[in-house]
Symmetry: C2
Subunit: 347 residues, 2 copies
């Protein structure tokens, strides 16, 4: 096996009685070297436990086969899925993933650090939670191949992958108004400035208008995406919400689960007396009774496509910027009260 001192290409060359050029050729372009020589060199490589030095290699080749993934946070299943999809795709394409997270206060710092070591990374995929001017500017001036997740930077020449939140929410609203026959819909969102909540609320308003349903101002709530607060709110209001054709559109599964639990505890039957739908299709959606009708947001796919786009750009830097829009998928389960059709309930 290998000794403890690092083995260089010169050591291999000496042992195999060839020049370092030949060793290098065996490593990179085997067909250029005579078979007998090649076998001898390969044997020497094995004997010495030689591994090429990636720095030296990268210095010549100007590629590290590493790409960066910069996320706003790493907490929870949401980001976990992005990472998972991105990692799988990166491996598939022969790249490794360098992970970093930039919380809001910290993000410019993280971006700068990522840029600083830019010569070590072949490209970067970035997801930002909010698009401040400073970030916009940093992204626009980015020298490296870049792919932006779930946001678009105006006038930047970069690739991006977005999820059509609005479309998914519209599909959900149409499902509950048409298939399930809801006529009064309570909206429970996250914070008013949250981009996802905004998109879902817009869809809510749009479909209310489409279906000529009245907008009751008191029926729109803004919470914090947490189970507990949704449970508390519902525990208080659920009796006044209940009624035939009444339903709650919660902006995520966690709040929807809280509402289902509170309703059940208060003796309000779901979905008969009050229907409920969620959003995201996290594991929680299948753990309520009845299971939640929700919208699956393809996070893993988003990560994967971003990496794919990024690697394409690395290979072909001059290619015009691409924008991929991913469609969320309606997952119809029992909680919305639609008749029998468990469309993709087992998916």
């Amino acid at each position: 096996m290998a000794g403890s001192m690092p083995v260089s290409i010169a050591d291999v060359a000496k042992k195999a009685r060839v020049s370092i050029s030949t060793v290098s050729r065996v490593l990179n372009r085997r067909q250029l070297v005579n078979e007998k020589t090649r076998v001898r060199v390969e044997q020497a490589i094995r004997d010495l436990g030689y591994r090429p030095n990636a720095f030296a290699r990268g210095l010549m080749l100007r590629r590290s086969e590493m790409i960066g993934l910069l996320l706003p946070d790493l907490h929870g299943e949401f980001y976990s899925e992005i990472i998972r999809g991105a990692n799988a795709q990166a491996r598939e394409l022969g790249y490794n993933l360098v992970l970093s997270s930039a919380r809001d206060g910290d993000d410019s710092h993280a971006l700068l650090r990522a840029m600083q070591q830019r010569t070590l990374l072949d490209g970067v995929a970035v997801m930002v939670s909010e698009l401040t001017d400073r970030i916009q500017e940093a992204l626009a001036g980015f020298a490296l191949p870049l792919c932006v997740l779930d946001a678009e930077v105006d006038g930047s020449p970069h690739d991006s992958v977005v999820i059509d939140q609005r479309q998914g929410a519209v599909a959900l609203m149409r499902h509950v108004t048409q298939r399930a026959g809801w006529r009064r819909i309570i909206f429970v969102g996250g914070h008013e400035t949250n981009v996802d909540t905004i998109a879902r609320l817009e869809a809510y308003l749009q479909v209310l208008a489409e279906r000529d349903l009245p907008l009751v101002p008191g029926d729109v709530y803004h919470l914090d995406y947490q189970y507990d607060t949704a449970y508390a709110l519902a525990a208080e209001r659920v009796r006044s919400w209940a009624g035939p054709g009444h339903g709650v559109f919660a902006a995520n599964d966690e709040m929807a689960a809280g509402i289902v639990a509170a309703a059940t505890a208060a003796g309000v039957a779901v979905p008969q007396e009050l229907a409920v739908v969620g959003f995201d299709d996290t594991r929680i959606a299948r753990m309520t009774r009845p299971p939640l009708t929700t919208v699956r947001v393809p996070m893993a796919k988003m990560g994967a496509r971003a990496v794919e786009l990024l690697c394409q750009r690395i290979a072909e830097p001059q290619r015009p910027p691409t924008r991929i829009s991913l469609q969320p998928e309606l997952i119809a389960r029992e909680s919305c009260g639609a008749p029998g059709v468990r469309l993709r309930a087992q998916a």
Copy 2:
């Protein structure tokens, strides 16, 4: 700003009318260079948008300031927390994290790849789901600074961070037998070969013996850690499980949640007629009614300590191997039926 061609240290030197040595000194050891010169060089660096090439730098310094994190999988909150803790600690110490996952079939391949590029990584933290001989061997022969998570490799000179699963499970069992007065305990585990399940089952047996409680063979089940299967099992058995002083010890929160739901649906009151406890303290634990008594496993801390250990070893390769054992924390909530004491329920 920078032109599109890469700017090298020579460009900066020429622009500042100094030698490249001086530029290098400004970059690394500012105090060795005259202030007027330094200002001129710094100006040139800014004007040109110069960034040092990390490959060239690494080639001399033999460090990349990157460490690898190799996990069995990336799915779910469990790994998400490890990654989060590891990333935060790495950032803290000036390192970046390179992520990889090695599913079971694939793991040796991933390990080898990680080793192949070993000259690019300063060290690696590895978590393995099962310790096969092949993996054991690969780890033992690892040439790079290495830290093993949640497992120990016999006779290897490497650092490790483990969680004292057994201890946590014992604490939980003692809590339910002493504080909550359980006298018959149904154990619902994951697969029989799963290391975590094994540790928890051992604790179960140990405390049964301590407390002179009978071991009923039919009361030990092996499922798959999933909500659905636990729900299904409990739906069938819950009436026969119910009784005063009876309780279920599920090996994770998800199965515990399924059992609580099935019991409630069957009209069995939790915890009065059947108490339930889980394990892991995931978000689910606070979403059941009543909330679950469980054991918090400090995943984020494990990730962080592993990175810390790894970086220490990188700095001081000859240091003797360290082993850190992390204690899980008992989280007492209502589902176990212990009188009033909500120890750290709000934590």
